[in-house]
Homo-oligomer: 594 residues x 2
């Protein structure tokens, strides 16, 4: 099983040298105390917890899974989960970026994001229990009444209660307009909610005293489609301690994240409380959903890092064949496989995707902090736009790349990668769901191209690409960076042209957008990563002048690898986008036969 | 769980309309009786067996796995496996393409390959028990003495005994030069063999009366490297019924193919018999290995087909959202997801890779038949060259594409794809090992580029590309095919240029070959598939003239999809190959740190 070591050096690089959060945070009221020292002490504490408490539980928990007792309808989580959660609460991590008014520590997302990454690397199934709770916290904090906030938030903040998101029903996931769960008013301000929800992560467990379900349901006479969905708070236990009629019906048997309880939740006249306006439930839920989408991206990132660490260790240890140009370690029976170019290709792919993903996560976290706290409304709006544009990119690109990384890590292990004891195949299985839930990556692509780019007339995209354009202009004469800035500027222009082309085609035929979306998202993802890698190389060159350091040399070498070996994917993406919708749509239904 | 329907129509197309095996087989002595009617009756019988016997066992067997009893060192296979195997033997399928001199039915590989594909679609873990046996049959048939053949072959042919390949040891897989298992002569012509072998597929089970292990080991004073390896027959039971000291030590816990017993095999002065020349064991083993590599390719193909069938059925059934251009089925609550371009992209990717893979399998099977039976030595040599060149391509390209297809099939199912009961995630897990075993796909790439192309001065490649060139020339004026022939001819030239470029670079630095290999294999894979899709379109156009048929229309539409949406990958492959070895090799070891 790969042991885990938190990448504290790289967090420091990304936060303090690349994104430079300390130039921004002091200007955000409430975050004045989030100094670099504070960051360091939290990150080190989290690293210790993730390395020593969470990571050692991961493998065994996958074998053990969660246990459902049909008699009591209760769920037992794997050995050690409960205790680790208790410790996590005591360390204050559930409260980390929560509102001090409810017991939170008021820390910024730029601090909480790397801590989420560490949890995902160490034990992604475990990380989802506090992760979902935080989503419930956010939704209630944003949309709850003062009374609701006072009732629920302190418990969600201290971790004594956890939360869920109850959206999906057996017949509807992507298409929530079809949902059937009903909410009848009781006349006393509460509602009676009846229906079946599936795929409810952390839906039932033994780690906390209470579970606060946030449930989408329809009021009587609500409009049929997504405009008729409302959001309700449905606690497992009421304030008086009595049991609500919301029960776990069973747990799903899954490919991965087996230690997270994925529950069927049956609501049988369960008592619930409307949160936000009637029929505006989807908008409220999107408060959670956007955070959850970024959370998925963090899963891809964290798992990619864990797989890289395992693969790198193995590649240095495993002796097999000689380097093609002659033995590198003639004293050993064979050379360690890290000498082989194809093994290095796999390791560097993991490294390049992971480090760029970490930079993107930090960038987005800072925008979230600005969006929440900046005194200037324009600055907040600007940050919100960038978050809106890049959330689907972070979700899909980081999970797709995380899955690629997890598979490559397994491949480095050869046959041993397929054996459960080594832990590498678990990373593949655990990562796979991140490409599916919280909106499949295909849905993310349509969200990006349709809603965030085309419906917005490209405004958000232009704001983003302007930043990249400025970077290219500022570094036009920089000889060291020319190898990066040239291709980046070219890609920037290409993305503009491609966007225009799709926009024109989609005006005539809306399927053109649907056909291009997945490739387009990867194109924008690569634009983002190419920009971040060029920026990371820029920082590394600056530091090299002062101190010759393997860390910075590696950044420059990895940037070169990215531009030479990963970025060229854009060549095929441009070509496939150009291929248009016709090759997808021309087969008639009967012609698909097998 | 997806039900399985054998693609008999497509087998017919590939065998009789595309590869036209009936124009060749009558000229191969021994295959005169393998008429189209004989093919049809065998294929239908195999289809019935795979659809009705094997496929229904697949899901439950994954849950159940194999059971090892440490007390008796015996293995129990999942419910139904034994009975299905018995029926398979009785139907004569173990004997299908075996030598009539030993009870075989003497059928060609062009018939056995589609039957292997069906087994892989229906139940890949099960298929490996007869699959490994057939490998042992081939090795003994090719290298055994008359006495060895008489002793072992009839039992392997009728299926009462099965076989294994015992190569890997804990410290060596790829690098067999490191293997330590020892063989001491007993003085009576037999040997005492001692060592530990791991990852032995079908290594111990309850399906047959005896297991014939083919074991690589070193004779005393044998050269240290691969030149000192010999091959031995080590039966579980001797001819007199006594138990040999070759025992299963444990079973591996794996990500997939859980119903195949992957055994640790301990040899403790086990009695064995040399097969072939001393110290030439690796060459003997490669008789099995090449077949096993093609067998892996068939696993990728078969699983891709199974996943496509599941995904297509689901995509027609699952109602979610409306078509972007407006409701296609306004009477339903929502449109079936097959209307969405991105879903069609996934289905067509599965379809295009699978059908091209099936064509490649048939092409290779015919070359194997020619290699074995053609009266003309030049024709045999020509066929052998094509098989040698395309075996690594078939192994790696078909398994990588199979894994892609399996993942796409799972993605089409959304969250349900992650749930074990639906069977789609099992296909992902079962497929994953095919990219690793029998030589990782990275090793295949080095075999192709290093051994089969560069060390051969490009002779085999030129023979292959000449066929493609002829096809392009012959269709130069064909307006219908111009959309395919143009890009194919361009790619053909590109592959020549790229090969030359790598060859020149590798002369200065051998790492250049290692760095390019994986991308190069995909490039040659796409050249092969592009050629096959152009040929399939050609056939389909001919048939369209006579009868307008959805099957042929689908072939043309799928060819278009392949050229528009999959083939453009070559654009990035050319670019990454051009990137060379330096971006992979420049990081010093310490710079990889995490």
């Amino acid at each position: 099983m790969p042991s885990y070591k938190a990448p504290l050096r790289d967090f420091d690089f990304v936060l303090n040298e690349l994104i430079k959060v300390q130039e921004v945070l002091p200007g955000l009221p409430g975050y004045e105390e989030a100094t670099q020292d504070i960051f360091s002490s939290y990150l080190e504490a989290a690293a210790q917890f993730c390395e020593n408490e969470l990571a050692p539980l991961n493998r065994q928990a996958d074998e053990e899974g969660c246990n459902f007792d049909p008699a009591t309808k209760s769920v037992t989580t794997p050995v050690g989960f409960k205790e680790a959660y208790k410790q996590f609460c005591e360390l204050g991590f559930t409260a980390l970026d929560c509102d001090p008014a409810y017991g939170g520590q008021g820390m910024p997302k730029t601090l909480s994001f790397p801590i989420i990454e560490m949890q995902c690397s160490a034990n992604v199934a475990w990380s989802m229990y506090p992760g979902l709770s935080h989503g419930a916290y956010s939704a209630i904090h944003a949309h709850g009444t003062d009374e609701q906030k006072a009732t629920y938030l302190p418990h969600l903040v201290d971790g004594s209660w956890t939360g869920t998101m109850c959206l999906t029903e057996p017949h509807c996931g992507t298409d929530l307009g079809l949902l059937k769960t009903k909410a009848e008013p009781n006349g006393d301000g509460s509602y009676s909610i009846t229906g079946t929800k599936i795929f409810i992560s952390a839906g039932e467990h033994d780690m906390a005293d209470n579970i606060i379900h946030l449930v989408l349901a329809r009021l009587p006479d609500a409009p049929k489609d997504v405009k008729g969905i409302s959001l309700f708070i449905v606690p497992k236990f009421h304030a008086d301690g009595s049991r609500n009629t919301v029960y776990c019906g069973s747990l799903e048997h899954k490919m991965g994240i087996k230690a997270n309880a994925t529950a069927v939740i049956n609501l049988d006249d369960a008592k619930g409380y409307l949160i936000g306006e009637p029929n505006k439930g989807l908008a409220c839920m999107f408060t959670m959903m956007n955070a959850a989408r970024l959370g998925c991206g963090m899963q891809g990132l964290g798992i990619g890092e864990a797989s890289f660490q395992g693969a790198l260790t193995y590649a240095r240890d495993r002796l097999q064949m000689r380097a093609m140009a002659g033995a590198k370690f003639p004293e050993k029976a064979a050379d360690p496989i890290i000498v082989h170019p194809d093994v290095r290709r796999m390791l560097l792919t993991q490294k390049a995707y992971t480090e760029a993903g970490r930079a993107l996560a930090a960038l987005l976290a800072l925008q979230l902090d600005i969006e929440e706290k900046h005194p200037d409304a324009d600055a907040r709006a600007e940050a919100a736009d960038l978050v809106a544009l890049l959330t689907p990119v972070a979700k899909a690109f980081m999970t797709d790349n995380g899955y690629t990384a997890a598979n490559l890590g397994m491949q480095v292990f050869g046959g041993h990668g397929f054996i459960r004891e080594w832990g590498m195949e678990q990373l593949v299985r655990d990562c796979r769901i991140s490409q599916i839930y919280e909106g499949t990556n295909g849905i993310q692509a349509i969200d990006l191209l349709g809603r965030k780019v085309l419906m917005d007339q490209g405004q958000k995209l232009r704001k983003f690409t302007k930043q990249i354009h400025k970077f290219c202009q500022a570094n036009e004469g920089n000889a060291q960076l020319a190898e990066f800035v040239g291709p980046l500027a070219k890609l920037l222009k290409d993305v503009g042209d491609v966007t225009m082309g799709i926009g024109m085609a989609a005006m005539k035929d809306r399927d053109e957008a649907g056909a291009a979306a997945t490739d387009y998202l990867r194109l924008v993802g690569h634009l983002t990563y190419a920009w971040l890698w060029a920026r990371m190389a820029e920082v590394a060159y600056t530091k090299l002048d002062s101190a010759s350091d393997d860390f910075y040399k590696a950044k420059i070498a990895t940037a070169r690898f990215y531009f030479a070996k990963l970025l060229p994917e854009v060549e095929s993406l441009k070509a496939t986008i150009k291929g248009g919708a016709k090759p997808l749509m021309s087969l008639e239904d009967g012609q698909f036969a097998f």
